[in-house]
């Protein structure tokens, strides 16, 4: 199938705004599961939320790294966003991971610097299931007291890496999980207890 001919957002302005607000809510309330509204035709292997976030966030200013499973969607991404491909995870503004179990270690991505922590990579990790069950206990900015989140398909090692991340603050990476139409975010400030 030719990805490039798939349409993007049906109505670019309100759809991008709606998807952004969903993501902003998710980032503002770590662990909260939020639906990304716009429906759209997606490249093979992509969930609607994953595709919607990319159309909302990426353009020629944001190098994107795709894992092997996301690779076939490269022409779709280039056609709709003009985003250049990042050769290395560390060069990416956004990284798209469709195979979470085998994703690169967190420190393969850009964590920014103490002076420019915003230079970091944002990870968009598509998973098979998101629920507010009690796999992780989350604390930190955006969370009133404690939140819970359960994410399927991540390695124990990845969870350990993520739990250790806040020590590096303000350096770090922000992670958005996607599943179907749903997303949940773990900004770098969120303390995670497995």
């Amino acid at each position: 199938m030719d990805h490039a001919v798939l349409p993007g957002f049906a109505d670019a302005v309100p759809d991008a705004q709606g998807a952004f607000r969903a993501l902003l809510e998710a980032m503002s309330h770590p662990g909260r599961i939020v639906a990304v509204p716009p429906a759209l035709a997606v490249p093979a292997g992509f969930d609607p939320a994953t595709a919607a976030l990319l159309l909302t966030l990426c353009d020629s200013d944001t190098p994107v790294w795709l894992d092997a499973a996301a690779e076939p969607a490269a022409p779709w991404l280039a056609f709709h966003t003009g985003a250049p491909r990042a050769g290395q995870p560390s060069a990416a503004s956004f990284a798209v991971v469709l195979s979470p179990a085998t994703m690169p270690p967190l420190d393969a991505f850009n964590w920014g610097t103490d002076e420019v922590p915003e230079a970091s990579t944002t990870l968009i990790v598509q998973v098979s299931r998101l629920s507010d069950g009690a796999t992780w206990r989350l604390r930190g900015p955006g969370i009133k007291s404690e939140a819970q989140l359960s994410v399927a398909g991540l390695s124990q090692d990845w969870v350990r890496q993520r739990a250790a991340l806040p020590v590096a603050f303000p350096r770090g990476v922000d992670v958005v999980f996607t599943s179907g139409q749903l997303i949940a975010a773990l900004p770098r400030t969120t303390m995670l207890e497995a």
């Binding site: 302005v13 309100p14 952004f20 002076e115 900015p141 009133k144 603050f169 303000p170 900004p187 400030t189």
Partner: protein, 352 residues
């Protein structure tokens, strides 16, 4: 690549004025700002059709965030009726067609200059602050290259020294507004020039707080439920100002009060700076001691204003800008005596 469509905004302009690429750039900066609370993110601030220093940072944030389902409230000095608030609200009505409100509890997005509403903000709301100077260390170190390093190292001793010098000199910290805060225990942040009276409202606020400095090209944020601590010392804890008076209109004794000069004999009265809060309280039956005798309230004053005699007016320009023209004939002749005060702003536009 991506087509743009106006939803219900001004013809010829994209929804909310900014083009989609600019919105994406600002949205990415907002997300980073939320992820790094209190850290200033440089962004490619655009040249807006409103003046720098008049809220272009806040306007760009609001434009990047707002959608057709939002309800917008714009305040300046706590009031919905101040001229610049009126102007910015008008800009968004024209460019987005979204609903606007004066009610704090009805708004999904509140853009503000210099105040946080008295009505507590709740989860799901977004408050957008207009910021003139985002850098809390600016008066201590004018160089951007240096302040960036200081933030990188969380090297904030100089700010404590500055505040302590106040205590030594005046016996108290003399900073009355734009009082520095520490966000989530890490970043020193300027809350924008809100009175320090409002600082405690920022701490663990359920709403998302976004800060935009257009001229200085910085965005920063405080996520909901995030600790925002006003700097202080064990022996000199942070405290907010209090008034001996209460609001002359609604009787509130715990809101921020504006002092209004009521005559040329030094007479003055105090009223709530938050006009919506004051209006709600009065609607609920609260009453203050009233304004001084003979004081003409601005709404009444507006009725007696003079309109330019039609002979002096240019012929009505044909086409295009009719919506900007004033309504015809308000009649009246002379300004009454004793109508000084905050109403002045409304009269400025009228030709004597």
């Amino acid at each position: 690549m991506n087509h743009t469509s106006a939803l219900a905004g001004e013809e010829g302009y994209n929804f909310a004025f900014l083009d989609e690429q600019t919105k994406r750039m600002i949205r990415r900066a907002i997300l980073k700002a939320v992820a790094i609370p209190g850290h200033q993110i440089p962004f490619g601030s655009r040249e807006m059709p409103l003046s720098y220093g008049w809220g272009t940072g806040g306007i760009q944030l609001t434009a990047a965030v707002i959608g057709r389902d939002d309800t917008l409230k714009v305040i300046d000095q706590g009031a919905d009726d101040t001229t610049n608030a009126v102007s910015i609200r008008g800009f968004f009505r024209r460019m987005t067609g979204v609903r606007t409100t004066e009610r704090t509890d009805e708004a999904t997005v509140v853009q503000t200059r210099h105040r946080i509403p008295e009505t507590p903000l709740s989860e799901g709301q977004i408050i957008v602050y207009q910021v003139p100077i985002p850098e809390p260390l600016r008066w201590l170190e004018p160089r951007e290259s240096e302040t960036r390093k200081m933030h990188g190292l969380a090297e904030y001793g100089a700010m404590h020294v500055k505040l302590y010098e106040d205590i030594v000199r005046y016996g108290r910290i003399e900073t009355a507004y734009d009082y520095p805060v520490l966000v989530n225990g890490r970043y020193l942040m300027r809350p924008s020039p809100i009175p320090k009276f409002d600082n405690p409202k920022m701490d663990r606020m359920p709403a998302l707080q976004l800060f935009g400095a257009g001229r200085e090209k910085r965005i920063y944020a405080v996520p909901p439920y995030t600790e925002v601590k006003s700097l202080d010392f064990e022996d000199h804890p942070f405290e907010v100002e209090r008034w001996e008076q209460s609001c002359a209109l609604c009787g509130s004794n715990d809101s921020f009060l504006d002092e209004i000069v009521t005559d040329d004999q030094g007479g003055h009265a105090f009223v709530c700076s938050d006009t919506d809060y004051c209006t709600r309280r009065r609607a609920a039956g609260h009453e203050g001691e009233g304004m001084p005798e003979g004081y003409l309230q601005p709404s009444e004053a507006a009725e007696v204003l003079h309109h330019p005699p039609s002979a002096l007016r240019a012929p009505s320009p044909s086409g295009g800008r009719d919506s900007d023209l004033p309504p015809e004939g308000e009649g009246g002749a002379q300004r009454r005596k004793g109508d000084a005060s905050s109403g002045t702003a409304f009269r400025a536009g009228l030709r004597p």
